[in-house]
């Protein structure tokens, strides 16, 4: 099971790399969110997927699943959600002011101020 999720997160990160390297701003943003999904999946796998019971303290159960990676992912998901929202707003504003969503036209720091 761990093996499959590791491969899956590798595929997600690979796809994200492809998207981030493209020229369209929206594709880059989608790439960023896919990248964070891949990495969250990897983080989940790091705590082992299924090794015991629900982590609630009870006398009869001795083997618990590690809840900490899930707590960390929750935090990371919230952060990446906020970042995606912000980057979408920034892309919109970029499109309104610069009139383009092509990173090719976003070069040229030397030419203007």
């Amino acid at each position: 099971m761990e093996f499959i999720t590791i491969v899956l997160s590798g595929v997600l990160i690979g796809a994200a790399t492809y998207l981030i390297l493209s020229k369209s701003v929206l594709r880059i943003i989608i790439g960023i969110s896919v990248l964070s999904h891949g990495i969250h999946l990897m983080l989940l796998t790091m705590g082992q997927l299924k090794r015991g019971n629900v982590p609630i303290l009870e006398d009869s159960v001795t083997n618990y699943t590690d809840p900490l990676p899930q707590a960390m992912i929750l935090t990371a998901i919230v952060i990446s959600f906020a970042l995606t929202a912000f980057s979408l707003v920034l892309a919109l504003r970029n499109y309104k002011v610069l009139g383009s969503d092509d990173t090719e036209t976003m070069k040229g720091a030397q030419n203007e101020n």
Binding site: S36, I39, H40, L43, T75, S80, A82, S87, V97
Partner: protein
């Protein structure tokens, strides 16, 4: 054990005041007063903390009274205490400087709250004892910095802001990945606990080298080391000068701090491999910074490339991983934060007064602003490291350590690059202040008393720091010891277990 609220103050004060500002709404005049007040409190609190750390050694407090490896811990060793103090001082003067430079529109649209949110994140990253918490605080100050870099929405800011955003989000994601690896190996997130666990780690140590590469990729991107510096010069030249000053002085240094901390706590058993690579990268960074500083006459660009040179110096000191090198790195780190902020603020004054950023178009300011001219000269000398001024001590220790450890090339590169810094900055001084006298009527008529106050204050602070460097030596030795010998940092975990 009780929670020590003194240690929480550097997180609570800026956060609380910025939330208050958000509730007050769009009243820039009120924001100004509140922001300056909060940083005044911060200076007082952080001086008290420095004294307390000096007297008692490493201090820590457990948030929510959860004992150390399980809860989140705030840990102050001398490194963190000194960095928090410097951060507060710089931010205070940048806030005063912003009154007359940032523009009332930006002030209305929550410039000060964002600045203070960023300070919350930076203080948190300096002081947290929990590696996941460090990631969260990285995100806190990064998200505030995304807002600061685009605030005002000029074309250049939006364009460069987007690149800055993408680079930082990608590197932050790799931070999470590294955390995942580290957690699966050690089963802990508390930095001191990880250090203790790794000391008795008997698995395959090569895997730690892999983890260290992931972490170093993240922190070197934030610090702007070759080949990960590509985003730095353009992004930093986009925002207005007070923001540039605070970015240039603080943000890259957080990456440096994180490198120092992780190298000393996690990746200390097999350093020869990674340290050689980082040393080589640091030297290339110095060379590239030198080329950049010589290639431009743009005032901002010259200083931005000087940031890279300074980062290179500090890394040369850190990679030596001995007491002398680390004392040098600490001296240079604190010195560079102060003097870079001072120089950015004083060139900011020149840019606001003349309306030009290219040094070639400015001439003869000495006739109108003689005091500013000589202050700029002192700042330039301090940046280069002429003996009574503080840059000298850092370089002395770094070069000494490099020669002691047999890295002769590193020592020579550091020494030679000082000449390049001297040339690049004096070239600007001559262009801007000498030559055909400037005419009062050609300059922009602006209010500039607060601009001069802040920049002079920081430069004078730098000079004072230079003259008291000998007196402050015990503090810096303590800071360096805490990096070289991590047990002074990590010992608090033993009390619990």
């Amino acid at each position: 054990m009780k929670i020590n609220f003194l240690l929480m103050m550097p997180l609570i004060i800026p956060f609380l005041f910025s939330v208050i500002m958000l509730f007050i709404g769009k009243k820039p005049k009120v924001h100004r007063v509140i922001a300056a007040l909060s940083e005044l409190f911060m200076i007082i609190v952080s001086i008290i903390i420095v004294v307390a750390v000096y007297q008692n050694g490493t201090l820590h407090t457990n948030v929510g009274n959860w004992p150390a490896p399980f809860g989140i811990t705030v840990v102050y060793d001398m490194v963190a205490a000194l960095l928090v103090l410097t951060t507060s001082i710089l931010t205070f003067f940048v806030i005063i400087y912003s009154y007359q430079s940032i523009g009332i529109e930006r002030e209305t649209y929550y410039y000060y709250p964002m600045l203070l949110f960023m300070i919350t994140g930076i203080n948190g990253a300096f002081t947290t004892g929990d590696i996941f918490n460090m990631f969260v605080f990285f995100e806190v100050f990064l998200i505030a910095s995304y807002v600061l870099i685009v605030i005002g929405s000029t074309k250049k800011q939006l364009r460069e802001g987007f690149k800055y955003l993408v680079v930082n989000i990608v590197s932050s994601n790799f931070f999470v990945l590294g955390l995942g690896y580290l957690y699966s190996i050690t089963g802990s997130l508390n930095m001191a606990d990880i250090h203790v666990k790794l000391a008795s780690f008997d698995g395959n140590k090569d895997v730690m080298t892999l983890v260290s590469i992931v972490f170093f990729f993240v922190f070197l991107t934030k610090a702007g080391i070759f080949p990960l510096y590509f985003w730095l010069p353009d992004s930093y030249s986009a925002p207005p000068l007070p923001i540039l000053a605070i970015f240039g002085a603080l943000l890259t240094k957080v990456g440096v701090y994180a490198m120092m901390r992780t190298m000393s706590l996690f990746f200390s058993f097999d350093q020869s491999f990674t340290n050689t690579i980082i040393l080589a990268l640091a030297l290339i960074t110095i060379v590239i910074g030198c080329i950049g500083a010589l290639a431009y006459y743009d005032l901002k660009k010259v200083l931005i490339y000087n940031i890279m040179i300074a980062i290179g110096f500090i890394f040369v000191g850190i990679t030596m991983m001995d007491l002398t090198g680390l004392i040098g790195a600490m001296y240079y780190l604190i010195h560079d934060m102060i003097i870079k902020a001072g120089l950015f603020l004083i060139i900011g004054f020149i840019i606001y007064r003349t309306g030009k950023t290219n040094a070639k178009e400015i001439h003869g300011l000495m006739s109108v602003h003689p005091v500013t001219g000589w202050m700029f000269f002192i700042a330039a000398m301090s940046l280069v490291g002429v003996p009574p001024l503080p840059g000298f001590y850092g370089k002395l220790f770094i070069v000494k350590s490099a020669f002691e450890n047999g890295y002769y090339i590193a020592g020579i590169v550091v020494l030679l690059s000082s000449l390049v810094i001297l040339y690049s900055i004096i070239r600007i001084f001559i262009q801007v202040f000498w030559g055909k006298p400037a005419v009062q009527s050609e300059l922009r008529q602006i209010k500039y008393d607060k601009l001069l106050f802040s920049s002079f204050a920081l430069i004078i602070l730098s000079v004072v720091f230079g003259f008291t460097a000998d007196l402050l030596y015990p503090l810096f030795e303590m800071a360096a010891t805490s990096i070289v010998d991590p047990s002074t940092y990590a010992d608090y975990i033993m009390e619990v277990e």
